[in-house]
């Protein structure tokens, strides 16, 4: 292991890849009032864990993801990675957005290379890595295409490869399959599971879909209604690729849906 896993961590969170401790986040709304999206969030995600965040709209799950990314800061509490408080975006993390957010002026390969290029990493190893990624996400033959010529599913494949190309320790995904039609989504999820199993990176995956969460994650963190806390953690001990018709899957799905519906109706109230 060449990773710099500093052992100077703090307390119990030292063993966690990511730890969220007493985090709250308030926003000032249009009429000047402060809306508390996150009340008191606590969780810890282990190295190599595939974590899914699910909860009612507006519960702050994407906001928590952005805090882990370093894009936003908590109002109070700490978000830490490898025991160190996260202060800004750094390339030890990678991000995939729902809207792909590719750079239209770069080709498929240019987009995927972006992280390596800005980090001045151009060598045989990274070249090989990019080539390999292009092939496993199914983009061979499209290296020189510009993003606007690709379908949504293909663009999201580019975005996933772009986030993995510079080999971050943690992959953050904000509803990455939310904008895709059901068929494209199914195929992309299957391909993504294969790509992920090659590296088994720590993943934090925000989603609206119970099925997506259960297909992918080791643990599903259910957010409560605003001001949110982590209401419940569901462990999914099923081998991948998972069968959505398996009895254990359906049982988990039912329990998770029920708990989620409770929170959704609280938000509506």
């Amino acid at each position: 292991m060449t990773h710099d896993h500093s052992s100077s961590g703090i307390g119990a969170s030292a063993t966690a890849k990511l730890s969220v401790t007493h985090v709250s986040k308030g926003f000032s709304s249009v009429n000047g009032q402060v809306v508390k999206a996150i009340g008191d969030a606590n969780l810890s995600i282990a190295e190599g864990e595939f974590a899914a965040f699910i909860g009612p709209s507006g519960c702050g799950k994407s906001t928590l993801l952005y805090m882990i990314a370093g894009f936003e800061r908590p109002t109070s509490g700490t978000v830490a990675m490898n025991g160190h408080s996260i202060d800004r975006p750094r390339p030890d993390r990678g991000i995939v957005f729902q809207e792909y957010v590719l750079f239209p002026w770069l080709t498929v390969e240019g987009n995927i290379r972006f992280g390596l290029d800005v980090q001045n990493r151009r060598d045989a190893v990274s070249d090989e890595r990019v080539r390999h990624l292009i092939s496993v996400v199914g983009l061979t033959g499209f290296e020189n295409a510009y993003p606007h010529t690709l379908s949504g599913g293909m663009q999201q494949r580019v975005a996933i490869a772009r986030a993995l190309a510079y080999d971050p320790e943690v992959l953050l995904m904000d509803e990455p399959f939310g904008a895709l039609d059901a068929q494209t989504k199914r195929r992309l999820i299957n391909d993504f599971i294969r790509v992920w199993e090659e590296s088994r990176k720590t993943v934090v995956f925000v989603t609206h879909s119970v099925e997506e969460a259960l297909l992918l994650a080791d643990k599903v963190y259910l957010f409560s209604a605003r001001p949110s806390t982590i209401k419940q953690v569901f462990e999914v001990n099923l081998p991948r690729p998972r069968d959505i018709t398996a009895p254990q899957f359906i049982e988990l799905e039912k329990a998770l849906l029920e708990s989620l519906d409770e929170e959704v109706s609280k938000m509506m109230a």
């Binding site: 894009f71 390339p91 957005f97 750079f103 239209p104 002026w105 800005v118 510079y166």
Partner: protein
């Protein structure tokens, strides 16, 4: 093949309009003095483009001088104002300082400055170039700043988390991302520049330039030369559009799909 089709599609309507104009002249529907037929104008252009004594043809001299002034004035605005506009788009403090000044100055017609600039710089080339610079300044600043502000926060976040420094974000994200609007600003700057040039040459023309030539020919009722000057301005505008901006757009923002191809 595609090029000839495009050329035909572009030139067709213009040729049609010229044919109607020619017909009206010959049928006596318009005065041949106030609206000379295109054939007479083109014959006049050829005459003015011809020189017996080995010196540069007079129309070519006027044209080159005007073109040089546009080049200098617009070039100055392009270099100085693109950077300022981009900085205003990036930095709130810089924007907060320059925005009110620009808001106040922008509605003033460029030609209103000419008398003052003549007092500063005299009836000289410098005056005309400065006026063209003023004409190009605002569209370039305004559009460059808007181009940067239009870049999505998530695009900047994505670049940042991948390890891009400020310097790299500027060159690899902000500049290409703002390019569609930067180009729009520059196209407007050149077309505003032509307008300002002709006006400035009429007011401060030091004996040369297409604007001066038009103004001078008018006093002698030489309408064929007036029209010749107008045609040359249209041709030069077309040359800049088709020779500079069209290829630039074709190889950048049209290829990237950040604007629809024409």
């Amino acid at each position: 093949m595609r090029l000839t089709m495009d050329t035909l599609r572009f030139c067709g309507p213009i040729l049609f309009a010229l044919a109607v104009w020619e017909g009206c002249s010959h049928l006596g529907l318009v005065s041949p003095i106030l609206v000379p037929p295109p054939s007479a104008v083109f014959a006049n252009i050829l005459r003015l483009m011809h020189s017996d004594d080995g010196e540069m043809p007079v129309l070519l001299s006027h044209t080159l001088i005007s073109f040089g002034r546009i080049f200098a004035g617009y070039g100055l605005a392009a270099v100085l104002c693109t950077g300022l506009g981009l900085l205003m788009g990036i930095n709130r403090t810089i924007d907060a300082f320059f925005n009110p000044i620009i808001t106040v100055l922008m509605p003033i017609p460029t030609l209103a400055w000419v008398p003052i600039v003549i007092l500063w710089l005299g009836m000289s080339n410098a005056t005309i170039i400065f006026v063209i610079f003023l004409a190009g300044m605002f569209p370039i600043i305004y559009n460059s700043a808007a181009g940067v502000r239009g870049i999505s926060k998530k695009q900047l976040w994505a670049a940042e988390i991948m390890g891009a420094t400020h310097h790299k974000i500027f060159f690899k994200v902000l500049l290409p991302g703002a390019l569609p609007q930067i180009i729009t600003g520059h196209i407007l700057a050149v077309s505003n520049g032509w307008r300002a040039l002709v006006g400035a040459e009429m007011l401060a023309g030091s004996g040369w330039g297409l604007g001066y030539m038009i103004f001078d020919a008018r006093t002698f009722m030489d309408t064929e030369t007036v029209y010749s000057g107008i045609v040359m301005i249209a041709l030069l505008g077309l040359l800049i559009e088709k020779g500079l901006f069209s290829p630039l757009q074709h190889y950048t923002i049209e290829r990237w799909g950040t604007v629809r191809a024409g």
